[in-house]
């Protein structure tokens, strides 16, 4: 059941913004990076962006808490960052490409960091990927249950 369906009606079919945004929240285990999340996580993502500079990475590694205190971040965000709780960070408006600066600074690959969000060990997650990845069956829609 994976054939391409396309849209019915007007090309794009994305004119009703309320319906469009509601659908983006209907995917199990997924936080689509919407405008609402981008707004909520603005300084979290800008903080992560700062780790693209070696000088900032050095200061972050030397004293993570002190470095975080220089940013306009809620205590929730600071705690989630210190704990490297990436699912929580997604809930707080983080985007994975920004958060990648944090786990890259830790020396983690995308696969290692991404596995921490799935409830699997790195070994289990890698084995799943090597066996063809996670099937979309049953995880396409919360409401539809398909």
């Amino acid at each position: 059941m994976s054939e391409i369906k396309g849209s019915v009606g007007p090309v794009g079919n994305q004119g009703d913004i309320a319906e469009y945004l509601a659908e983006l929240e209907d995917i199990p285990g997924t936080r689509v990076y919407t405008a609402a999340r981008a707004r909520k996580g603005y300084w979290l993502n800008q903080f992560a962006m700062s780790l693209m500079k070696e000088e900032n990475r050095r200061r972050w590694r030397a004293d993570e808490k002190a470095y975080l205190d220089e940013w306009q971040l809620s205590d929730d965000i600071k705690q989630a960052l210190l704990a490297r709780d990436y699912n929580r960070l997604l809930d707080l408006g983080g985007n994975i490409y920004f958060l990648a600066k944090v786990f890259s600074t830790d020396g983690l690959s995308f696969l290692q960091a991404v596995s921490t969000m799935t409830g699997m060990s790195v070994t289990e997650y890698k084995a799943m990927m090597d066996a063809g990845g996670r099937s979309p069956e049953g995880v396409r829609s919360i409401k539809g249950g398909y």
Binding site: S2, I4, G6, L24, G29, M128, S135
Partner: protein, 280 residues
């Protein structure tokens, strides 16, 4: 007159860049991935394109959360590889083509695509990994590159249909350039992958292959795929495939398949690669 002579689709997974940079492309894990690019590496030596219009997305490297251009075109003289958190990739600077870049930018605006114009930026794995896949490790890249960055991160991202139309406008822009240049357009990113949340690791080989089928010949069914279908079927980052539709739109009404490759997995991601030429 300048002409678009071919279109290339390719994933731009960062781990592929690591494999090239660290000499691991012949390891057991990477051999089935890189072997699918051997045909293209030979082909492109014969084609000798002058310029690549390289459609990619910036992964929070040149653009932060502050300014989010839907479509941005590079008109700079050169671009350095970005430091994405582990130091810049050891690859040559990317040399731009400002004359053609500005020509395309101006043509697109007059064609009602109001582009963001970028003169200085660093380019991340989204742009440099496809160059490494096609050209290996040269001392200098053998082509000039016009970066074309698409927002596929912050929603709503451009629709697939809009991407296809932008491709059509790029074709018109290139064909109105007087210099005799051999131009290729590459669409990069994808294929199915999800890098976030408990659903991470999603792969949909059947859907990915149907998408590649839809790039060949006269089919234009891919242009009507809504965002939600990419998200449900191919994972949250599978949306990058809309960038392949800019490439496809720029090839005109009909394409011929020259080469095709698909492999799962590379890191979290399905690797897809296709080479098409316009049928005129």
């Amino acid at each position: 007159m300048a002409r678009i002579t071919a279109g290339v689709g390719s994933s731009h997974i960062p781990l592929l860049g690591v494999a090239v940079d660290q000499g691991k492309t012949k390891d057991d894990y990477f051999t089935p991935i890189f072997s699918g690019y051997e045909w293209t590496k030979e082909w492109i030596k014969g084609e000798k394109p002058d310029v690549i219009i390289l459609v990619y997305n910036d992964h929070a490297s040149a653009f932060d959360a502050n300014i989010i251009p839907a479509f941005a075109i590079g008109t700079g003289e050169r671009y350095k590889p970005a430091d994405e958190g582990w130091g810049p990739r050891p690859v040559p600077d990317v040399i731009g083509e400002p004359d053609l870049g500005w020509h395309i930018a101006q043509s697109l605006i007059l064609d009602e695509f109001d582009m963001t114009i970028i003169n200085e930026m660093d380019v991340d794995h989204g742009l440099t990994v496809p160059l490494s896949m096609m050209f290996g490790q040269p001392e200098a890249w053998p082509v000039k590159v016009i970066p074309l960055a698409v927002n596929v991160v912050t929603y709503p991202v451009p629709t697939g249909n809009r991407c296809w139309m932008l491709g059509e406008a790029i074709k018109r822009a290139v064909e109105s350039y007087p210099e005799d240049l051999n131009v290729q357009i590459w669409g990069t990113g994808g294929m199915s992958h999800q890098l976030q949340g408990p659903r991470a690791g999603l792969i949909n080989a059947e859907w990915d292959n149907a998408f590649m089928d839809g790039l060949i010949g006269t089919s234009d069914r891919n242009r009507t795929i809504p965002h939600i279908e990419y998200l449900r079927e191919t994972g949250s980052e599978g949306i990058e495939m809309v960038m392949w539709l800019i490439m496809r739109g720029a090839l005109g009404a009909e394409t011929r398949l020259l080469h095709r490759h698909y492999h799962v997995p590379c890191s979290n991601t399905a690797v897809g690669h296709i080479v098409l030429e316009p049928v005129s």
